[in-house]
């Protein structure tokens, strides 16, 4: 089996676009959370969100009309183009059938559901445009990227909600590892949506002012949007072309709580199994992990359960393993979240710096690990886990390592 490395990253996030801006913001502890602008929130009890600002779809969607597709696809195309640029790759060097894409999402293109209902309310369903239906199913996101860039290999959407990015990266990893593809673009995309916002607001899960994961006074998550795409390729190809290697993908683990649609298993059963499976597949032990990118949404339950899961798996060593949540800055970008966090993990391995959990002021007796409060830290990690959990009880952990030739 081939070794698989990450050689490019493209992002559109609430804290900036592109690898450099994204990473600068993260290391500086900047928040992308602000009052919601994309719709009127006066009927809601909360008003903040993590939207992508100043995004010009026409700059990225060059071969088709940007308005012919939804925002999820636009964000994904932007991230994919940036990822290829970042990797210094030209697709013309590849056989098109050997280049594929795998994406994750929570809600795909919910803008078309909103449009459907807006038209239904204002004019009736007879007024629906003919092309609305074909633009909605979530598989259009990777298909739109494939069409824009001319990718003719495998093309898959894995809509496993808020853990989807890790699933999609895992699938891309599998295809490279087995030699089914020479190059995979893998990541996640999710646009801001009044539907998602309504759902979390009605569950009482949205924080009123800020996202403060693991803090004693945490009051919830903050819905966000964004996209991230990673370039995955076989190690030998990356070395042959002298590519910059951010990190190596070693393995991943997935599990299902089979407990509740929205609430995590109270003892973190599935979360523990996902981390354990990721490490086993990677041939590593919990003792070797030196950074965890937490799912860390900022809801009281998630952060408590994730802490329990890490303590159970890592035992007495748990307090020595730094674990931060970049959702404190990015909000929860849904299906894009774990892809964005995977980029953060790769860059932590590459630069030696781990990003902080901001807004951390008061430790919680129920959450007493090292959450890298407020300030980025130089720790030179070698092995990291990227955790992601989702509605449906889905859990996915991805294991990345600093690239070392003789692994």
């Amino acid at each position: 089996m081939k070794r698989v490395v990450i050689t490019g990253a493209g992002l559109i996030t609430p804290v900036g676009a592109g690898r450099e801006e994204f990473w600068r913001s993260l290391v500086a502890g900047q928040s992308g959370i602000a009052p919601v602008r994309s719709f009127d929130t006066s009927d809601y009890p909360v008003h903040i969100g993590a939207e992508v600002k100043a995004f010009d779809p026409a700059h990225w969607v060059r071969n088709r009309d940007p308005e012919s597709m939804g925002r999820g696809s636009q964000l994904a195309i932007a991230a994919a183009r940036m990822a290829l640029d970042d990797a210094g790759l030209s697709l013309s060097a590849f056989a098109p059938r050997r280049v594929g894409i795998s994406m994750g999402t929570t809600s795909g293109e919910p803008g078309f559901v909103e449009k459907y209902n807006d038209i239904r309310k204002a004019e009736g369903l007879d007024a629906l445009p003919a092309d609305l239906g074909a633009k909605y199913p979530c598989n259009v996101i990777p298909s739109n990227v494939a069409i824009e860039l001319g990718l003719q290999g495998p093309c898959l959407m894995i809509p496993t909600a808020c853990a989807a990015g890790n699933y999609a990266i895992g699938y891309g990893f599998d295809l490279i590892r087995t030699g089914r593809a020479d190059l995979m673009l893998a990541g996640g995309a999710d646009p801001f949506s009044r539907i998602t916002y309504t759902g979390f607001a009605r569950l009482g899960a949205i924080a009123p002012e800020k996202c403060q994961p693991f803090d004693r006074n945490r009051k919830g998550m903050v819905p966000g949007e964004g996209a991230a795409v990673l370039v995955l390729e076989p190690l030998e190809a990356a070395l042959a072309r002298g590519a910059r290697i951010y990190a190596e993908v070693l393995g991943y683990g997935v599990s299902c709580d089979s407990h509740h649609m929205t609430a995590a298993h109270p003892q973190g059963d599935g979360a523990i199994r996902a981390m354990d499976m990721a490490l086993r597949e990677s041939g590593r032990s919990p003792d070797e992990v030196d950074y965890i990118s937490a799912h860390g949404t900022g809801t009281p339950t998630n952060d408590r359960v994730e802490t329990i899961a890490v303590k159970t798996l890592f035992g007495r060593r748990a307090p020595q393993v730094p674990m931060s949540s970049i959702k404190s800055m990015l909000g929860h970008t849904m299906g894009a979240a774990s892809a964005i966090e995977a980029v953060a993990c790769a860059l932590a391995l590459h630069t030696g710096v781990i990003p902080p959990t901001i807004n951390f002021t008061e430790p919680d007796p129920d959450a007493d690990l090292d959450y890298v409060p407020n300030t980025a830290r130089q720790t030179n990690p070698r092995l990291v886990l990227n955790n992601a959990y989702a509605f449906g009880g889905n859990n996915a952990s991805l294991c990345l390592a600093r690239f070392e030739e003789a692994a």
Partner: protein, 401 residues
């Protein structure tokens, strides 16, 4: 390392032509079609619905209320597949942590998410019922089935448009090859609902004559269907170890994207041909080894033409003597469920050594060997196709064990 053989050991199916493997197969081979007036959208609408669907027949009444139609269809298929293979987790046990579900879908939760948003837009967001939020995520049927059947392993929802079901079976096979699961339910589900029906009708791709006539004279679009089919897949070694005779082998998968348009078929069919060739190569076979083709054709003229071109390219002159079956004549375009339903048709063809009838076949528009009767062949492998209008193409080769 020799890659383990991945086999199917059980089947669950609910469709417009029957519930359960036997009824589905018998109706398929009797040439029955489930196309007819809709119970959902009024009699003038023609669909391939699961009519008079009473999930309680299989699931009892407990916990049904919270499930949307897609989740109900999926749970019925899961119940049948698990009962058939003796893998149903006992009531008081925790459940095998390595047993999971891979579910293909296209529109996913579109009805639940649209209803949820509609409530917000008409009642006001303050009055939206938060209990309805969980069903809005695209993976909710898979999540609900996991809770109901204690499926604690991988729980992936797979979306590749009309090719979702085949991608899901392939994804499950890969998980087994990597040793990430003990056994998996793999297949797909799709519910018919107002949103997808109106969307397709507005796009002008539904048959105006209300007939599903793939590859046939007068084909004028598809008839929308629904349903769910799940296979129990595991390694051959594990199946034999627990004393179960495999039904067939999942031998090879291929996928290729046309990168052409989101809502139009690439008529030359190069992606479709590439998918078929890859599937054959992955199975270690050549076109000459294939006994029959289970076509994805749904009666949409462009799609039918594309598949015909692609078949010609892969099978060359032999195509004239190769039995081809287009089962969507019987169960319509079941979207995310199609791939798994077609795979089940392929498995049945292998066992019976007869390609299933193409229901109501009245003469081909393309020179393909289709028939209203079952067509005999003698071979150990069949090819199953699923090609989507977004340019995504998938093919799967099934082999006898």
């Amino acid at each position: 390392m020799t890659a383990p053989r991945i086999v199917a050991t059980g089947v669950g199916v609910i469709s417009t032509i029957g519930a359960g493997r036997e009824q589905f197969e018998d109706n398929l081979y009797a040439g029955c079609a489930g196309i007819g007036p809709s119970q959902m959208f009024g009699e003038e609408a023609i669909t391939a619905e699961v009519r008079d669907f009473v999930p309680q027949t299989w699931l009892g009444t407990k916990g049904i209320r919270v499930l949307d139609r897609a989740a109900r269809l999926l749970c019925v298929a899961a119940e049948m597949a698990l009962s058939a293979t003796g893998l149903k987790q006992p009531e008081n046990a925790e459940g095998d942590p390595q047993f999971g579900l891979v579910c293909g879908t296209m529109f996913g939760s579109v009805h639940s998410i649209t209803s949820f948003d509609w409530s917000g837009q008409t009642d006001g967001v303050k009055y939206v019922n938060p209990m309805e939020f969980p069903n809005t995520v695209i993976n909710s049927p898979a999540g609900q089935a996991a809770i109901k059947f204690k499926l604690r392993g991988v729980n992936s929802t797979i979306s590749a448009g009309l090719a979702s079901g085949l991608y899901a079976i392939h994804y499950a096979a890969e998980f087994l090859r990597f040793g990430r699961a003990s056994a998996l339910l793999a297949g797909g589900v799709e519910e018919l609902c107002e949103e997808s029906f109106v969307g397709f009708r507005k796009a002008g791709v539904l048959s105006a004559s209300g007939r599903s006539r793939p590859f046939q004279a007068g084909h004028d679009g598809m008839v929308l269907g629904e349903g769910s089919a799940l296979l129990v897949v595991e390694t051959e070694e594990r199946a034999r170890a627990r004393g179960v005779t495999p039904l067939f082998e999942i031998a090879g998968f291929g996928s290729a994207h046309d990168a052409h348009a989101i809502n139009a078929f690439h008529v030359r069919g190069q992606g479709a041909a590439a998918a078929m060739r890859q599937a054959l190569e992955a199975a270690g076979l050549t076109p000459a080894d294939i006994g029959c083709v289970i076509a994805g054709a749904s009666g949409s003229p462009a799609a039918d033409q594309m598949e015909w071109h692609a078949l010609k390219e892969v099978f060359g002159p032999r195509l004239g003597e190769l039995p081809v079956s287009a089962p969507k004549a019987a169960f319509g375009e079941a979207m995310g469920a199609s791939g798994a339903l077609l795979a089940l048709c392929g498995a049945t063809a292998l066992r019976r050594q007869h390609a299933p009838p193409t229901a109501g076949f009245i003469g081909a528009d393309a020179p393909l060997r289709l028939s209203a009767q079952a067509q005999p062949f003698s071979a150990h492998a069949v090819l199953v196709n699923c090609f989507g209008c977004d340019g995504n193409n998938a093919s799967l080769v099934l082999k006898s064990v």
